[in-house]
Symmetry: C2
Subunit: 441 residues, 2 copies
């Protein structure tokens, strides 16, 4: 399969930040073989796509998500104790492989529609998430969560590790889906289990480790009260603060934590909408990046952040950095787009495969239409992407040379069935919420 | 002209926050005559519109905009001194009646597409803005700006007041367009001119007064250094802190300022994207509202906020309040939607005419499609509007019973010509920016 995109405004996101204003991209199979400006090459038999001057850029990398949770989208909004009031009881009662499958399909649909081509996920029944990602054609790191709060798919950590092993076996050698182990957070696994994960990880060096880190004051207080140190320090003591550890949230950090994270070469994810909506604070993104830590952007689950595209995160990422800095200068728009693409790929250790448009890399890309008047004039394409573009401006999404969406039509998922399955689960949740509210009142 | 909307999820935004899940709205001429649930009335000759279960809600009220400035959208992004480096020189050189007309048309187009039905504007050559609003069919308060920094349409304040008089004459008795006087800000007009505005305003009680207030530390420092008090106190001393004064930004306020504003019954506007992007801080929206001050949401100009719909402002308004409060609870989603509609109308003293769907009020409304999977499931429609909906979900917009957009087709403006005119101006700006950058380097 050969594809030739022509007449595109190509933002490569390579090291030189090369742009081709009247550009072309030549794809063979799953790989970009060449790209450039000016007259496109003549490639007999190629599928030729005239992009009409639209933006063609790397597909975006959503570095932290809980795909199964889209069926919880906006549930218990504005309720401070919603985790214990609604979410954990609902999860214990209703989270099954089928529910995870339905939620993950709805999430995959939304991400493809919004130009996301790679996602790092962690949840329960994660083998199902991997299957949905594979069918949808998304590149994904799928992490089986381990936690001590009676989660829906393991009664104890032995069962949890068995889930991990099952996941690793299911996707060994898969071209798109990478299995991962995901201890939920320091406070919800504890030092001993983190040590066990660290040891398991040493025996499985190719399996990425993801965890929530320094997300809440609850966690910070736990670390101080239980271990007399920061949650980052506890993670280090467990031997888990290792190169390429994917740390989500990274909110409650002091300078010593950031130094420690940098020395141990971990990677970070910021989830601005999720954290902002929870009133939890603003992540020190500039400090993390200045310490040499790659920082990706994550949507978090739709329960917390509502939407799973990265456009929705752009203005918050930017505004939060500028508010912390008290100036327009911090984190320019171009850096936000880097974080959403090549830097996000680096945060997932996938930067040799994806995150920029360069010959030899996987053909993971998205086309952003410039038809909407709202996007114009365009003095700088990165500013336009960060502050004016919407996920609905994405018209086409490709992963590994395969079109997942053409002209707003998703090709790999059944939209009607996906929505129907999710709405059926939501009806069950609504009934249970009414029951909970009546019981509490 | 009679219109009957049926099969709509009607959010009325009336005092009781009535919703009609399978609702209908009956419109005669420019007025809502009835609305309700269940079987719609039989109205022979009415244009019947089946809304297919979509949301029908009051059109949104953009309480602070500079419509002429959309041609500056995203210009000088991330540059701290962009006001003095680019904007003021470009404004002095290129802002003409024709430029304001082109910029305002692009802005009107975007607002109609995003479900805005009322806008409060302030800029130069404001008579042109009023003309564009009238032609586009938008409800508008159009304020002629007065400023001392050599603005493009008046050399001194006498000329400025002459512009105001011209504007008032042009729109006396207009059904949609209300002329307004807009002293730029305390620091850029000064005590004497604010006193003159207060006196002029006393002689013209029907002409709304708009101004920027407490927007920046520059302004706060000016007030303290020049007058030894807060910028709000200086405004009060000038006699300008009067009932219904429309105060934009309201960022750098202490508790005494808020008490003073409340005692003088002024109205406030918050511009979260504009202020956040500038790194200027977070407005005390909850404190203002708790003091009984109505707070509308404003986009600011596209130079500062990039987009002119209110959906783009929703998550920032919400997150900023929750971050200030350190919890999920402050400013629930439903309150954000109130601010964008009925409370915004109150902030502009237009709440008897618009801002909610009630019989006897003007038929200013918008339809939000629920077709996108990204919006589902919907546990609460206000949460969905605030955290998941996009301006591109708006399909229809009506002002005073007239469709301005049907099925995403804007009926009152020529999209192609509007964009062409704006892009032509942008080319001039780009050339001048290159010249400025070369001169400075």
């Amino acid at each position: 399969m050969t594809t030739l995109l022509t007449n595109a405004w190509v933002l490569t996101l390579d090291d030189a930040m090369t742009q081709h204003e009247r550009g072309w991209v030549h794809i063979e199979g799953d790989t970009i073989v060449a790209l450039g400006s000016g007259a496109p090459p003549d490639i007999p038999g190629a599928e030729a796509v005239d992009c009409d001057g639209d933006i063609v850029m790397p597909g975006m990398v959503n570095t932290h998500c809980h795909m199964g949770m889209s069926v919880f989208r906006g549930l218990g909004e504005d309720v401070d104790d919603r985790l214990y009031r609604y979410i954990l009881p609902l999860e214990r009662k209703f989270v099954t492989a089928a529910m995870v499958r339905a939620g993950s399909a709805l999430s995959a649909l939304e991400m493809i529609q919004g130009g996301v081509t790679t996602v790092a996920d962690m949840y329960y029944f994660e083998t199902e998430v991997g299957r949905v990602a594979a069918e949808a054609g998304l590149r994904a790191i799928v992490g089986q969560t381990l936690a001590d709060f009676d989660p829906p798919d393991h009664k104890d950590f032995d069962q949890g590790f068995a889930r991990v092993e099952e996941l690793v076996d299911a996707f060994a050698g898969h071209p798109l889906v990478t299995p991962s182990i995901a201890p939920h957070a320091p406070y919800s696994t504890g030092l001993k289990v983190m040590e066990r994960v660290a040891q398991w990880s040493a025996d499985h060096p190719d399996v990425p480790v993801q965890m929530h880190l320094a997300e809440s004051t609850l966690e910070v207080n736990w670390a101080r009260d239980t271990h007399g140190k920061s949650t980052v320090a506890v993670t280090r003591d467990a031997g888990l603060l290792k190169p390429n550890l994917i740390c989500a949230h990274c909110l409650q950090l002091d300078d010593a934590d950031i130094t420690m994270m940098s020395e141990h070469q971990v990677c970070a994810v910021t989830n601005p909408r999720s954290n902002g909506k929870a009133g939890r604070g603003i992540a020190p993104v500039e400090k993390l990046r200045n310490a040499g830590i790659p920082v990706g952007i994550g949507s978090d689950g739709a329960m917390s952040g509502n939407t799973l595209d990265l456009f929705s995160q752009f203005a918050p990422v930017s505004m939060f950095a500028k508010l912390l800095g008290g100036s327009r200068k911090p984190l320019p728009a171009v850096e936000v787009v880097r974080m959403a693409t090549i830097e996000g790929a680096r945060a997932l250790s996938l930067n040799l495969k994806t995150g920029s448009l360069e010959s030899g890399k996987q053909a993971d890309l998205t086309r952003v239409s410039l038809a909407a008047e709202r996007l114009h004039p365009i003095y700088d394409p990165y500013s336009m992407l960060v502050f004016a573009a919407l996920p609905s401006d994405v018209t086409d999404t490709m992963v590994a040379g395969r079109w997942l969406m053409r002209d707003r039509q998703v090709l790999t998922l059944d939209r009607k069935k996906t929505l129907r399955d999710a709405l059926q689960i939501a009806r069950t949740f609504k009934a249970e919420m009414i029951r909970i509210d009546e019981e509490k009142s």
